[in-house]
């Protein structure tokens, strides 16, 4: 067979070659190829928007590549949908688990392939196969009868993996599997990966966390802007080299930092507690300052910003924003000169079925016409200015948000804070899921805002920024505090911390203050 070109490379179980995919004008994948041998783990790393997810969607048959070929064990493989991919032995474990929370573990594992005669399920057989699948996980929480919705996230993930194994998958793709796991669950998962390797599975491991990659993978392939920019045995490459490949530029260029001048304290909170999280948070934010909040997902950072902004209740503690004290509703917060950029762009941050102008001006529909009327032409004029300044790629202010890319959507969300001209910016994961160009723009913008400009009579603003990406915090902020299990630690000057120290504090391993 002419297409079996890889028979000269024994052991290569999965190969993708020359994969290209474009969405409209954007090239998502450009001539990308990967190889995974049986019993090996390939780490796929890259920034958000580098093309990892798109590549994996091609692999799983969720989307079709414009060009390129794939082989499974040397046999051409062209899935037209995820079900076909599963049948061919390729299983994806996504960040968002696709389990039925109301069903039991065994029902979930065998979902869609229950052994049955005339529609009557053979429950004994279901149980036998489910037990077989979960036995190797060695996790006491996993019993065939347990309701999946009551399991911890780590255990749920195992159920998903068990499902993949039960149908005999040989290729497992783990997409950011550790992002919502506890340290203990992460260790368990890595053990499991080791066992799966020894069973001869080919594993693709996608992650942002380079340390994890170094720990679990055999080889690493780095993607940037839809291209493979490097690949190596994990043992032969350093963390810094991987990061340099991912970012593709020197760190200093990405994070501009002007001489900033700290002013008066504009936001002060003391021992703030929400319903569950945060448990206790105190901080002071000055004009002309960028204060970063680091921490793991689920530590309560988002809840802190939300309770500050009146989107979640405040149980106790003091808040002072400018001259205003106490908790307040979002309506008041906007009036008091604060604005929140939501971490959840799609579900909270933006109204995707509305146009750019409406999204930008929604928080303050005043001054767009006489008698309190909102004249669309004036909305458009105000919006056009931000489209130009932030470089939002669109055909005009009346474009629907749903037609924009993630980076451009985020620019629109930021434009709302700028249009409202808030003094205190609460930014929750401002660069999540956007391309490098948009990130660079946002870093530059944050710097400009915090610096202000005397010539243009723009006073410096205060920025409170939550991020899970430590290099970004270190690059942008003047100060940083770490949140761990609902408790916000002390504020550090940025030159007194490094990634390692922040990570220790975030994982609660550094108890001393």
């Amino acid at each position: 067979m002419a297409e079996r070109v890889d028979s000269d490379q024994p052991g290569v179980w999965l190969q993708m070659r020359g994969i290209c995919k474009r969405f409209g004008a954007t090239v998502a994948l450009d001539d990308v190829g990967i190889k995974v041998a049986a019993g090996h783990v390939l780490a796929l790393v890259g920034e958000n928007g580098a093309g990892k997810s798109t590549l994996m969607k091609v692999l799983s048959g969720a989307i079709k590549a414009d060009a390129g070929q794939m082989w499974l064990n040397g046999v051409p493989y062209r899935p037209s949908n995820p079900l076909e991919a599963r049948r061919a032995g390729v299983a994806m474990i996504y960040q968002e688990l696709s389990l039925a929370p109301h069903l039991s573990v065994e029902e979930n594992i065998m979902l869609g392939m229950e052994p049955a005669t005339l529609g009557v399920v053979h429950w004994k057989q279901v149980r036998r196969r489910a037990i077989e699948a979960i036995r190797q996980f060695d996790n006491p929480e996993l019993t065939p009868d347990a309701r999946v919705g009551r399991l911890s996230v780590g255990s749920q993930q195992l159920v998903e993996i068990a499902r993949a194994l039960a149908i005999g998958c040989r290729v497992l793709v783990l997409d950011e599997p550790t992002s919502s796991l506890t340290q203990q669950d992460v260790d368990r998962l890595f053990e499991l990966i080791g066992r799966l390797k020894s069973q001869g599975k080919a594993i693709v491991y996608i992650s942002h966390f380079i340390e994890e990659v170094k720990r679990v993978a055999d080889r690493v392939t780095v993607l940037r802007d839809g291209k493979v920019v490097g690949g190596s045995d994990v043992a032969a490459i350093t963390t810094d080299e991987i990061i340099a490949l991912m970012v593709g530029r020197q760190v200093e260029e990405l994070y501009p930092r002007s001489a900033r001048q700290s002013g008066e304290v504009v936001l002060e909170i003391e021992d703030l507690a929400g319903l569950q999280k945060p448990e206790s948070a105190s901080l002071q934010l000055r004009r002309g300052e960028v204060l970063g909040i680091a921490g793991l997902v689920g530590a309560g950072r988002t809840e802190l910003l939300r309770s500050l902004f009146g989107l979640e209740p405040v149980r106790k503690g003091k808040i002072r924003l400018g001259v205003y004290t106490g908790p307040a509703s979002p309506v008041r917060r906007w009036m008091q000169g604060a604005g929140l950029l939501s971490e959840d762009r799609k579900d909270e941050g933006l109204a995707l079925s509305l146009n750019i102008a409406d999204n930008v001006t929604l928080s303050r529909l005043r001054g767009f016409g006489p008698l309190g009327l909102v004249l669309p032409s004036r909305q458009d004029r105000a919006t056009q200015q931000w489209i130009e300044r932030l470089g939002i790629r669109c055909s005009g202010p009346r474009d629907l948000l749903s037609s924009l890319s993630g980076g451009n959507q985020q620019r629109v969300a930021l434009a709302r804070l700028l249009q409202h001209d808030v003094d205190v910016m609460l930014l929750d994961e401002p660069t999540r899921g956007i391309d490098v160009a948009a990130k660079a723009m946002i870093y530059k913008l944050i710097d400009e805002l915090a610096t202000g400009s005397k010539a243009q009579r723009r006073p410096p603003k205060a920025v409170l920024m939550v991020s899970s990406y430590l290099p970004e915090l270190l690059g942008v902020c003047d100060q940083v505090a770490v949140m761990c299990r609902g408790i916000l630690g002390q504020t550090h000057r940025i030159d007194q911390v490094d990634e390692h120290k922040l990570m220790l504090e975030a994982t609660g391993q550094e108890t001393k203050r």
């Binding site: 109204a351 995707l352 079925s353 928080s363």
Partner: protein, 370 residues
């Protein structure tokens, strides 16, 4: 550039031009169909007349002079022209107003992401309140009419407050209100229709007398058109309107941006109720009785008008012009089927098919755009 041209362009942008074309298409279809049907009818009757005459032994030359014979072509054209004529257009407009007025409010409610199932009951309540006040309350026609509208607004206010304070979805709350309001209407009317002298309120939707031909359309229809323009402007040029869209598109975003979500929702339901109450006034004008059982299921026709007009039940989408065209499409179908002598069930099947088709086409368009 500000100016009337911009306003007009704005209104047109919102509406689906294709929908208007569909309306014209459906209308022309009926014009032709009615003419053809009439022609065939006349032809058939001619045949049978001729056959009869032949049987009776009338000589062939005399047969053609029989007064019962008519030209199929001429009679067909006449029938077509009747459907196109002012009298019929006016009837369609009057009939459509009954659905069209509550549909204005429903458009607001649906754009905000809600739904109001109590519209039919509110229309009935409106007729009952007006009739009762005219008969027993000693009110003049104007204050009785306003009371009917107010009653509707109050129902909307209660729905809105229940939805926002109990955090129960609009579907359930207004389903409950549908029964409650229907019950209240029946209670006020003591389970009977209230017959009363309309004191001029019937004039609202009566056909235009020849002397006042300059009015072109009955006052009620004009009221509908003017209110439609006002509502469209409200949606497009006011904060309330933009907030309504924002809430329907993404309630969380609206809340994040400091939109007073609860207040806007209550207002929207109140407006919806007021328009339904006004629908009750129109209904009363048409029938001149207070009837607590009238307009059962009207809410579904109203929702259908909004949905045909491009409104999305998920919220955030919809337009007044679309809704009006949607209501007109249903009005034209009803009138056309009526005049073709098609039974009611055929009309229902056609309307149902149009609803599904309109929405399916709309989704298809959306998917292509996305």
């Amino acid at each position: 550039m500000q100016g009337p041209w911009n306003v007009l362009r704005g209104v047109l942008q919102l509406a689906s031009l294709k929908l208007a074309l569909a309306l014209i298409g459906i209308f022309l279809f009926f014009v032709v169909a009615i003419g053809v049907q009439e022609a065939f009818k006349v032809h058939a009757s001619n045949e049978s007349v001729l056959a009869e005459l032949e049987k009776a032994g009338v000589p062939e030359a005399d047969r053609m002079r029989d007064p019962r014979l008519a030209s199929p072509l001429r009679r067909g054209l006449e029938a077509s022209r009747r459907f196109l004529g002012r009298r019929n257009l006016e009837t369609i407009a009057r009939q459509t107003t009954l659905v069209g007025v509550p549909a204005l409010g429903m458009t607001l409610v649906i754009i905000s992401g809600g739904i109001d199932l109590s519209v039919g009951s509110v229309v009935a309540l409106g007729t009952v309140v007006i009739a009762w006040l005219l008969k027993h309350g000693g009110m003049g026609p104007v204050s009785a009419a306003l009371s009917g509208v107010t009653a509707g607004a109050l129902v909307g206010l209660v729905s809105g407050l229940l939805i926002t304070s109990l955090r129960v979805v609009p579907f359930i709350v207004t389903l409950g209100m549908m029964l409650i309001v229907r019950g209240v209407a029946k209670g006020i009317a003591r389970q009977q229709t209230i017959t009363v002298d309309p004191q001029g309120l019937d004039w609202l939707l009566a056909s235009v007398p020849p002397k006042q031909g300059w009015m072109l359309l009955p006052l009620g229809v004009w009221a509908w058109l003017i209110l439609a323009v006002a509502t469209a402007a409200l949606l497009r040029y006011t904060r309330l309107g933009r907030h309504t869209f924002a809430i329907g598109s993404n309630e969380q975003t609206a809340r994040l941006c400091g939109v007073p979500v609860e207040r806007v929702k209550v207002l929207v339901f109140m407006l919806g109720g007021a328009f339904a109450g006004l629908g009750g006034l129109m209904q009363f004008s048409r029938l001149t009785i207070g009837d607590p059982t009238v307009a059962a299921g009207r809410e579904l026709e109203v929702i259908a008008a909004v949905v045909i007009g491009g409104g999305s039940l998920a919220g955030g989408e919809g337009s007044i012009l679309g809704t009006m065209v949607g209501a007109l499409i249903m009005g034209v179908i009803a009138s056309g089927c009526n005049q073709m002598g098609l039974p009611n069930w055929v009309q229902e099947i056609i309307t149902g098919a149009i609803i599904v088709a309109a929405v399916a086409i709309d989704r298809l368009r959306h998917r292509r755009a996305a």
